[in-house]
Amino acid sequence: MPPAHHPRLTLAAMLLLLLGPLLGCATPPPANDPEAVADFNEANDPLEPTNRVLYKINDGLDTILLRPAALTYQAVVPEPVRTGVHNILSNLNTPVQLGNDVLEAKPRRAGDTTMRFLINTTLGVVGIFDVAKKLGYPNHDTDFGLTLALWGVPDGPFLFLPVLGPSNPRDAVGRGVDIVADPFTWVGKGAAVTALNWSRYGLTVLDERSQYLDAIASIKKTALDPYATFRSLYRQHRRAEIEAARNDDRGTVPVWFPQPQTTPKN
């Protein structure tokens, strides 16, 4: 199947086409106002005018399309089913997750991911039930953007991507690499596979959006500048996620083996 026919790749191409004509740059404040200049540099958002336009478009789409869909999903589909869907989607992400764990040189995380896949695919009935978590193999987030961060790649200026939302060059590249690296992007062909891929994609959107219904509504209600608030939250959250991965130095010694002394650190 040529790459452009894959749903996610098609979408990525469409986004790039959309983005082109919209490029505009923020005007830095006058140099005689050093504090304003410091603020401008700290915001690190040279494409702010473009980003804001894309935020508005996304927000509009969200209001008329995604939010109602997520509300319906929440109202119509019972909670246990939604959890099952979430777990299946999470299980499908295992190959990419494992690849990143390995590239990040996090053996314990890679072990967790492997055990989660083996346990949840079998005992958990193709991933519907997260049995592994109860057995001591918790899930964790990772992606190639995070891997790049651990390799020392800086995030770069803020980007608000059409449809995808807050990002930056590093995380956007990481997202693309994850899509290409995902075996499910390439496995099989034909209408059925395309339909399955689109279903996975659509369900992922519903699953994620329905989890943030309250959080997003409350931000939009209480923030004076929701765009800037989302920008700040994205960055802080990302930083915390990266630090959590960086500091995850749990050993890989089996529980029945004498445990090495854990060195306290701060």
Partner: protein
């Protein structure tokens, strides 16, 4: 959380603000045994007591909104350094604001905080929390807690407590890695930069928001 790559929520790939169970499992509060000093212990005890007060207020939801606001106002007044947080959130503009503006702003900030928290109490019916490790930071003691709500993934919340040994006060709340006061300061800073750095415009906007919140 799943599948960040495909996390294409429209406005919000904006990931995982509040419910990111994966992070919970990570060693957030690794403490030097020697440093689990009285400051950390006192901060933890203080957060435990404050949490208990809030849970009591949540479960006593029979009151009218006005009553609830009064209770929340009392708890916040005695446990949060509201004026300090307000100053932090205004950032560099605090220095350039006139005393009248400062006073107006601080009073609005306090009311906003109380109204926002009081309006959310209902969502926290049946909440439980456990106090975990503490960490020593320059700004104060960080106390980690896990908040569990029925039908919600547990949330990792950290509380930054200043003056733990003398007059403990909360100066920040960090939810899944996102600091509330930092987020608020970024929000105000951006608003101000879009409105000619006018503190009066900010005060007007806060007024407006408050009147809409009813």
């Amino acid at each position: 959380m799943i599948n960040r790559r495909a996390s294409i929520s429209l406005i919000a790939a904006l990931p995982a603000l509040l419910t990111l169970p994966a992070l919970l499992a990570l060693p957030v509060g690794v403490v030097h045994p020697a440093q689990a000093s009285t400051a950390g212990d006192r901060a933890a005890a203080f957060i435990k007591a404050t949490g208990a007060k809030l849970v009591a207020a949540i479960n006593a939801t029979s009151g009218s909104p006005a009553q609830r606001r009064q209770v929340v106002g009392e708890i916040i007044g005695s446990t949060v350094d509201v004026d300090g947080v307000a100053r932090f959130c205004l950032g560099r503009f605090w220095r350039t604001a006139t005393p009248a503006q400062q006073q107006q702003y601080q009073s609005l900030f306090r009311t906003m905080l109380i109204v926002n928290i009081a309006s959310k109490l209902g969502d926290y019916q049946g909440v439980t929390f456990t106090v975990g490790a503490t960490q020593d930071r320059e700004a104060g003691e960080i106390v980690s807690t896990v908040i569990a709500r029925p039908n919600n993934a547990p949330t990792n919340i950290q509380w930054l407590v200043a003056n733990a040994t003398t007059d403990p006060k909360i100066i920040d709340v960090i939810a899944e890695g996102t600091s509330m006061r930092l987020t608020q300061r970024d929000d105000y800073a951006s608003f101000l930069s879009q409105h000619g750095y006018s503190v009066d415009a900010l005060i007007a906007a806060l007024h407006n928001q408050l009147s809409q919140a009813g």
